[in-house]
């Protein structure tokens, strides 16, 4: 795909900067009408080819040998082709499809075509590589490669508004001129996919908007269930490609903005809907295999959301946050009635969860009180240290190098399953005609905890204390001048974050059967750990609710699904984070309210001149 970055964009001529407004042309020199027809037709052809056989043997996973019934990666290409065709038709102005593209139909078409191309070619190349050569492709395979290529080329031929060329300095050295041209090319390439935010749509009746939200939630559940259920590496990569480009295409089409406008109007409905959709997840599963992943994602995501209070709202960089999860887990494990706990007590869940949260909060205050007087990097260093101190202390309290409390590196094992009001979490239950296994039970319990954290996050960020956090984060001096007690406000954020992590930890102890010190390291291959928690927050979007949830899901699913990453996992995440910070520093899901503040009537020059008069 990257080869197209160097496609012949009209090179600006530095000597004639007065050359009139650049004509609207595409990245590829084809007439726009031809391009549009190719893109739409190519999309339709890709849909058709998904029903053909792509290879002759079922050795490639997903069985792509059947005519008339798409399987595995073919389904993804089918969806991509469908989107391409629909956006293509919408760009023709077909009545009824206009509603799909309140934003920029052309940009949406380009991204849809690009996504379909990427998925299809990835599949074809994967087949050839795995089976040893292109001879293993059936006509369907060639057809889909051709169709998606044609669609992509056609889409790239669509005209777009080129940015004003920046005249080159004639005194530039060769290198400077080269850099200038490269910059120009990049700007052009970016403009090819640019889309204005759509004009605000008319408000639908409330029931229709709620229906839309329901649909979106159902779709979200479907996508998530599909992603978590992908059975082999190739399908998961295809899923990531299709989902990623699909989301980008929807964003360019303006649908994402539309839907987020609707969800903002009905926040409670949205939250309830998301909760119901998540609760429906175990009921879509026939066994406990993926509920396991689900419950670990939830634990990870909940703790990340708690960390988002500390990092995203209050702006305190905490590198030892996982210690609070550990405090909660160890506390709950000690009173769980586990035979390896020195305290031979068996508390009910509500009491141990409460205790876990309170003890974690006390630790939060104890650690926060001396450290929160530091700013920025210093706080990060000290919290990193405290995180490790927790782990090493727990490691040493084994009866030989310290008091016998935590069993050292063996940890507290055989933690009994929870039993709430006679509901045994270790047993399978029949609920609504579905068998709900052990992990699904915990998934539903953990979801309740997630809900608690979401509500706490939302209430606090909208409150007086939330405003104070943001003020402290933005400008501590000014916040002090407003009468905000910076230290107290930061300590509250720290303690609240610790408390929520402790609550999650008290469930985690039961889910994992065993708590050991190395579960709570700074960096480790398995999330959650402090580095991954922070990565989930930053990747997802600081200061938002959905950001850490999405970030945590991705950070958990990707290593769980892509076994071949193996030892390179941490390296891959490092690279991914660097790229993300370079190209999308606000995270995948930026803080909507803050974005609105940035983009609402920024262009108001008339008002400016009035002020001067």
């Amino acid at each position: 795909m990257t080869t197209h970055t160097t496609a012949p964009g009209t090179p600006e001529t530095p000597d004639t900067p007065d050359s009139n407004a650049p004509a609207a042309t595409g990245l590829i020199g084809l007439p726009a009408t031809v391009g549009r027809a190719l893109a739409t037709g190519g999309g339709a052809l890709a849909v058709v080819s998904a029903f053909l056989a792509w290879t002759w043997t079922a050795e490639f996973p997903g069985d792509l040998t059947v005519y008339g019934y798409p399987g595995g990666l073919q389904v993804l290409v089918l969806i991509g082709g469908l989107f391409t065709t629909l956006f293509g038709l919408a760009s023709y102005g077909v009545k009824g499809l206009k509603v799909l593209t309140p934003g920029n139909a052309d940009s949406a078409l380009k991204l849809a075509a690009l996504g379909t191309f990427a998925t299809a070619w990835y599949t074809v190349i994967a087949i050839s590589a795995k089976l040893g050569g292109v001879v293993n492709l059936e006509p369907g395979g060639y057809l889909v490669a051709l169709a998606t290529l044609v669609a992509l080329l056609g889409a790239l031929a669509l005209p777009f508004q080129r940015p004003e060329p920046d005249p080159a300095d004639p005194d530039d050295t060769g290198w400077e001129a080269f850099r200038h041209r490269a910059r120009q090319k990049r700007a052009n390439f970016k403009a090819a996919f640019a889309a204005e935010p759509p004009a605000p749509g008319r408000t639908l009746p409330a029931w229709a908007e709620i229906l839309v939200i329901t649909g979106v939630m159902a779709l979200g559940l479907l996508v998530f269930t599909y992603g978590i259920g992908t059975e082999y590496d190739e399908l998961f990569i295809g899923f990531l490609l299709t989902a990623g480009f699909g989301f980008a295409a929807l964003a360019k089409a303006g649908l994402v903005a539309r839907i987020s406008a609707i969800t903002t109007r009905h926040r409670t409905v949205t939250m309830t809907g998301a909760f119901v959709a998540a609760a429906a997840f175990p009921f879509t599963q026939s066994d406990d295999q993926y509920a396991t992943i689900g419950v670990y994602i939830l634990i990870f995501a909940t703790v990340a959301l708690g960390l988002n209070i500390v990092v995203g709202l209050a702006g305190l960089l905490d590198l030892g946050y996982v210690a609070f999860l550990g405090v909660g887990a160890y506390t709950a494990a000690l009173v769980s009635g586990s035979p390896s706990s020195p305290l031979h007590v068996h508390w009910p869940f509500w009491a141990s969860a409460l205790l876990g949260a309170v003890v974690a909060m006390i630790f939060g205050v104890l650690i926060g009180a001396p450290t929160l007087r530091l700013r920025g990097d210093y706080l990060a260093i000290v919290t990193l240290g405290f995180g490790e101190i927790f782990r090493i202390t727990v490691l040493n309290m084994d009866g030989t190098s310290g008091p016998d409390v935590t069993n050292g590196s063996n940890g507290i094992s055989s933690i009994p399953n929870l039993n709430i009001l006679g509901f045994d979490f270790g047993q399978e239950h029949q609920l609504l005609g579905t068998t709900i296994g052990r992990f699904a039970n915990y998934f539903l319990l953990m979801l309740l905890i997630t809900l608690v954290v979401v509500v706490v996050f939302r209430r606090s960020s909208d409150s007086r204390i939330g405003r104070a956090w943001i003020a402290i984060r933005e400008d501590e001096t000014a916040a002090l001048a407003m009468g905000i007690n910076g230290f107290r406000v930061k300590l509250i954020a720290f303690a609240l974050g610790a408390c929520l992590a402790g609550l999650a930890g008290s469930v985690q102890a039961h889910v994992t059967y065993t708590v050991t010190p190395e579960q709570y390291q700074f960096a480790h291959v398995v999330p959650p750990n402090s580095a991954f928690l922070l990565a989930a927050v930053v990747l997802g979007g600081m200061g938002t609710i959905s950001g850490p949830l999405v970030g945590a899901s991705l950070l958990y699913l990707i290593p769980a699904k892509l076994q071949f990453l193996g030892d390179y996992q941490l390296f891959a995440f490092g690279v991914a984070l660097v790229l993300l910070m370079r190209f999308r520093p606000e995270g995948l899901i930026p803080n909507r309210r803050r974005q609105l503040e940035f983009h609402e009537d920024t262009a108001a020059p008339a008002v400016l001149s009035k002020a001067g008069a």
């Binding site: 007086r464 405003r467 104070a468 943001i470 003020a471 933005e474 400008d475 001096t477 000014a478 916040a479 002090l480 001048a481 407003m482 009468g483 905000i484 007690n485 910076g486 803050r594 503040e597 940035f598 609402e600 009537d601 920024t602 108001a604 008002v607 400016l608 009035k610 002020a611 001067g612």
Partner: protein, 238 residues
């Protein structure tokens, strides 16, 4: 002895370097008092000490008869002393309205806050027009208006303005000075720190000229404006 603010022999140091070397002045209720002087004279240091951001090494500060020496910065506001800091320090990524609301952080009377927000919009109509816009998108002068409006939101008995005209266009500066005059007319007590001596002195009831940490000359605004040495040193005449 009924002055709102009394400063006696105030000394402030950064490490070993004494930036304010024992200054004394008073601000009576309803007055506009100005501290003028060049860069590094200690004006901003004085204001930051009054609002608790810096700790004095010696001397006395009494506000309403109460010593401010041991009061932390965030509590000074609740005593009725508002500080509009140098360089404005608005919250750039919050809306104008949220900035104003933060100014009223310590207040609990909702109707009163709404009324005062409206008053800020009346005082600075441009802020009202852009109330939902991020404060960082405002021009320098507009940000200064916001900083002043925000400081007023705490209903202070004394408003301290640190170089409100810094970095502004002449037109904008005139507008800010006109607003200060308006505030004065409405009975607000103001302690104004300025480098623009001409503008500050023509507003002020009392003026103090600072040089390297000391007050070298005091008088009414009008007296100082006509004072030979002031004209030479600060008004660019010879």
């Amino acid at each position: 002895m009924t002055a709102l603010l009394e400063v006696e022999d105030l000394r402030v140091a950064y490490g070993k370097i004494e930036a304010v070397k024992g200054i004394s002045f008073k601000v009576e209720a309803g007055q506009v008092v100005t501290l003028i002087g060049t860069n590094g004279a200690g004006k901003t240091t004085t204001l930051r000490t009054l609002s608790g951001l810096l700790k004095p090494v010696g001397g006395q500060i009494r506000f309403n008869g109460r010593s401010l020496k041991k009061v932390p910065a965030h509590q000074v506001v609740s005593l009725g002393l508002a500080h509009s800091p140098e360089g404005r320090h608005i919250f750039p990524r919050m809306t104008i309205e949220d900035n104003l609301r933060l100014g009223a952080f310590l207040r609990n009377d909702k109707p009163g806050i709404e009324k005062d927000i409206q008053r800020a919009y009346d005082l600075f109509p441009i802020l009202g027009e852009r109330r939902k816009q991020a404060a960082g998108t405002l021009s320098g002068g507009e940000q200064q208006m916001l900083a002043m409006g925000r400081a007023l939101m705490s209903q202070p008995q004394l408003l301290m303005l640190d170089e409100p005209s810094m970095g502004l266009s002449p037109i904008m500066m005139q507008k800010i000075m006109a607003t200060i005059a308006e505030l004065k007319a409405s009975g607000t007590t103001i302690l104004l720190v300025e480098q623009n001596a001409q503008a500050a002195l023509s507003l002020a009831d009392q003026g103090h000229v600072m040089e390297v940490g000391s007050i070298v000359l005091s008088g009414t605004g009008r007296d100082l404006l006509t004072d030979e040495s002031v004209r030479k040193a600060y008004l660019g005449e010879d």
